[in-house]
C-alpha cells in the first residue's frame, strides 16, 4: 500500500481530461486507464470518479452520450469538448509550472 499515492486535491479533473483527450471513454475505462498508466501508483477511488465526471460535464468541458461498447453493451461515453481541450491545455501548463517551481525549490540545497 505504501507505494500508492493519494491524489492531490484537484488533480483528478486534470487526469480525467487528459485521459479523455486521447479518445472517448466510459467511466470504468477511465478508472482502468488511470490505474494502468500510472502503473498502479495513483490511488483513484473508483466511486469518486463519477461526481467528478458530472462536475466536469456541468462545466461544459466534457459531454456524454450513451453508446454501444464491446459485445453490444450500452455504456455512457464521455468525450472532451472544445472548451475542455482549452481547459486541459491551461491546466497542463499550470501543472507543469507548479511542478517545475516545486522542483526548483526542492533542488536548491
Amino acid at each position: 500500500m505504501s507505494d500508492r499515492l493519494d491524489l492531490p486535491q484537484g488533480t483528478l479533473d486534470l487526469l480525467i481530461l487528459k485521459a479523455l483527450s486521447l479518445q472517448p471513454m466510459h467511466g470504468w475505462a477511465i478508472s482502468e486507464r488511470l490505474h494502468q498508466v500510472s502503473r498502479a501508483t495513483l490511488q483513484v477511488p473508483q466511486g469518486s470518479l463519477y461526481p467528478a465526471l458530472h462536475r466536469l460535464e456541468r462545466k461544459g468541458w466534457i459531454k456524454s452520450r450513451w453508446g454501444e461498447s464491446d459485445n453490444n453493451r450500452k455504456a455512457k461515453y464521455y468525450e472532451l469538448t472544445r472548451a475542455g481541450r482549452a481547459q486541459l491545455a491551461a491546466e497542463t501548463e499550470a501543472w507543469e509550472r507548479l511542478t517545475a517551481a516545486v522542483s526548483l525549490v526542492l533542488d536548491m540545497g
Binding site: 463519477y50 467528478a52 455512457k76
Partner: protein, 903 residues
Amino acid sequence: MHRLWSELRFRLRALFARSAMERELDAELRDHLERETEKLVRSGLSRAEAERRARASFGAVGGIKDDARDARGLVWLETAVQDIRYALRGLRTRQSFAVGIIAALGLGVGANAAMFGIVDRLLFRPPAFLRNADLVHRVYQHRRSELEVSTDRNFAFPVYLHVQQLTRSFDRVAAFRTIPRAVGEGQGTREVQVTMASAEYFDLFDVRPVLGRFFDASDVRGPDGAPVVVLGHAYWQTEFGGRTDVIGEQIRVDRTLCTIIGVAPEGFVGVSDQGVPALYMPITTYAFAMRGAQYRSFYGWSWLEMVARRRPEVSVGAAQADLTEAFRQSWRLRDASEPGWGSVDDTQPRGELGPIQLNRGPLAGPEAMVALWVSGVGVIVLLVACANVANLLLTRAISRQREIAVRLALGVSRGRLVRQLLTENLVLAVLGGALGVALGHWGAMTLGALFLPDDVPAEVMTDGRTLVVAAVATLAAAIVTGLAPAIQAGRTDLATTFRTGVREGTTPRSRLRTALLVFQAALSVVLLIGAGLFVRSLHNVRSYRLGYDVEPVLFAWANPRGTELTPAERVAVVERMLETARAVPGVTHAALAASVPFFSIEGRGLEVPGVDSVSRRGHFILQAASPDYFATLGTRIVRGRAFDDRDAANAPPVVVVSEGMARALWPGRDPLGQCIRILYGPAGSGDGSPCTTVIGVAEEARVRSLADPRDFVYYVPLAQYPDPPDGQVFARVTGDPASRMADLRRALQDIMPGAAYVKVFRLSQLVDPNLRAWKFGATVFVAFGGLALALAAIGLYSLIAYNVAQRRHELGVRMALGASAGQVMRLVIVRGVWLAGTGVAIGVAIAFLAAPQLASALFRATPRDPVVFGTVALLLIAVAVVASLVPALRASRVAPHTALRTD
C-alpha cells in the same frame, strides 16, 4: 457565454428530467460495478467474492450518488424538493406527532400575531397616509392648578388660533374633533361619527379625494364656515352605494344642510381615535352652528384636538419651547378677557409635543400598558410552545436514532441528514405558521373587537406588518427548536447505536428534555400567576361598589337636535319625560339628573366658610337631581336624609355630600348642618351665593374615574338648580334591562318635540369601557396561561411516558425483585412531581421578582398575592400528578418476564 449556456442546460435538464437522469446515474454506476466484477472474475475470483470486492473498492453507492447529484448542481432546489417530499411522507406516517407540533407552533405564533396586531395598532402604527409621521405631533398642555398638574389635549378655538399665529416652529397646525352627530332627515336620522377639521388637516396626509375635493382654507375661513362636507369612503359605499354623482347633493348634519363636495379615499380615517368618520366638515361650520360667532373668542369650550407638523430643521425641544411661549401668551390674553382662572404664573401652562399615537403620549389609556404586558405574555407563550416542540422533536429524534444510523451507514452525508431534519422542521413550522396566522387573525379580530377603543379593528389585522412578525416568529421557532435535534442527529455515533440499541447514550438528551420541561413549567407558572392577578383585579373592579347600582339602571338621553325651546318649554319636556319613564311597565323609579357617570359631569366652584382653598382638597362633582334619584340609582344615604319634595325651588337650599367630601372639608366634625356656597354665577361672586345646608351624607360614588379617591360628589335638588335641565333620565327597572330599553325608548320618543330624538343606554354601557383594560388583561392572561399550562402538561406527560418506556427493563427488574405496583407507580409520579416542583419553584421566584412591575396595571390587587401564588403552585403540581398518572399505571403493569425477555 458557452459555459453559462452549458451550465443552464445542464441544470434545467437536472431539474426537469430528474427521474431520467436518476435512471442514467443508476445505469452508469451499475455498468461500472459489472465491468469491475467481470474483471475480477477473469482474474480468478469467484463471482460472489468479485462482486463484494467491486463494491468495496467502489465505496458507498448512496453517498456517491448524492455527490454526483450535488456535482450536477441540483443542490438546493432539487434536494429541497426531495427533502420536503420526504418530510411530508414522514409526517403523514406520524400524524399525532405532526399535529402536536403544528398545533403548538400555531398557538404560539398565533398568540404573537394577535398581540402584535393590537399593540401595533395601539402604539406603533401611525395613521394611514400620514406624511412624515415623525414630524407630526399631538399637542398637549400641562397646567398647574391648586390640586395638581393636569394635562389636556382639548383646546378652545381661540387657543388654536393663538398657537397658529404665535409659533414659528410648525409648518402646519391643524385642529380637529371627531364626535357623533345626527345626520339625515326625519326617520332616516342616524348618529354617525363626524370629524370637524381645519383646512390644514388634509395637508398632513398624502391623500387625494376619490371624487371632488377636500375643503380648503376658503371653506373654513370666516366665522360661519361653508356648509360643505366630505364623505368618508365606507359611508359613501354604504349610504350612497358608491355613486359617482353624489357631488353637489345635500345632507343634513344636525340642523345644517350641507353640500357634498368630495369623497375621501378608502382606508383614510384621518388622525381619529374615535372610530371611522362618516363625514368631514369644517370646524368653523360646526362651531358656528353650535355657539354662533362667539366661539372664536370663548375659552370655556375646550373641544378641539391639535396636531402640528414640526419644521424639519427645528428640534423637538425648540418647538416645545416655542409652543410653551405661545400657550403662555395665549393664557395672558385669556386672563385679560376672562379673568378668574389664575395668572400665567399661577398656572404655568407648558406645551408638550407628543407622538402622533395617542397611547404613546402623556394621556395614554390603561389599554396600552396592559397590551404591552400582554404582548410580553405572547412571547412567553411562544417560548413555551418552542420548548414543547423541541421536546417532541427530541423524542422523535431518539426514536429515529436507528433509522438515522442506518441511513448514515448507507452513506448519506451528515450534512445532508442535518439539512433533511431541518427541512422537516421547516415544513412543520410553515404549517404551524400558517395555522398561527389564521389563529392570530381570528384572535386579533376577537380581542380587538372586545377591547380596542371603537376603532378600525377589522382591516388592520391582515396587513403585512403582522404577517412579517408571524413569519419571523415561525422561522425563529423552527430554527431554535430544530437545531438541537439536528445537531444531535449529525453527531450520532454509529458504533454505539448499533451495539447497544437505543437505551444507552440518551442521557444527555434526556437531561436537555428535563431542562426544557422545567423551563416550560416555570414559564407556565409565571403566566398563570399573571392570570391570577389580573382575574383578581377584574373581580375587584367588578365587585367594586361604585356608589350606585349599574345593572338595573337605564339612562335615556334626549338630543334636542336643534329644536329651539324656551327654558320653560325645556322644563315642561323633561318633566313629561320623567312622568312617561315612570309609567313604562317594569320601571320602578325614575329621576332626572344633570350629571351622568362617565358621560357628562357637572362642576361648580365651591366656597366653604372656615375652609381655605376648597379646590385644593379634591375634585367636587355636582349632581343636581330630582327627589327619586337616590332610590333610582341605589346610592345609599349614610347619615341624615335625602332631599325630597319638601326641598322645592323656594325652600331653603339643601345639599347631600359624600362621605369623603365630609371628611375632606370638616375633618372630625359633624357635617350635618354645615354650610357650603355653590358658585352658580361667574367666578368670584361667592359672597352673594346663599348658604346651602348639608342635610345628609351619601356613600362615596365614582362617576369620573374608577380609582381617584379625591373625586367627591355632592347632590342638590334639581328644583333648586338654576340651569335649565337637560333631557337626562335615569330609570330603575325590574326584569331584563335589555328588553326594557326598547320600551323606554319608544315611550320617550313619542313625546319628543320637533326633530329631537332619544337614545337609551344601559348604565353598564357607560361604565364598562372603563373596565376594558382589566377585562382585556384578565382574558388574555387566562387564555394564554391556560394555553401554556396545557402545553406544559402535554410535555410533562410525554416525557414521563417516554421515561417509563425507556425504563421498562429497569422497572421489570425492580418488580421481579419484589417491588409492588404501588411502589413503582410512586416512583414514576414522584419523578413527575419533582420535575413540576422544580419548575414551580423557579416560576414562583421569577413571578415574585417581576410582580411588583405589574402593580400599576392591576386594580386594588396585591402583586404578590399569596393566594394567587399558592393556588397556581398547587394547580401545577396537581396537573403534574395527573399527567404522570397514566404512564405510572402503565409502569405498574409492566410484566417482569416480558420486559426482561424483549430487550
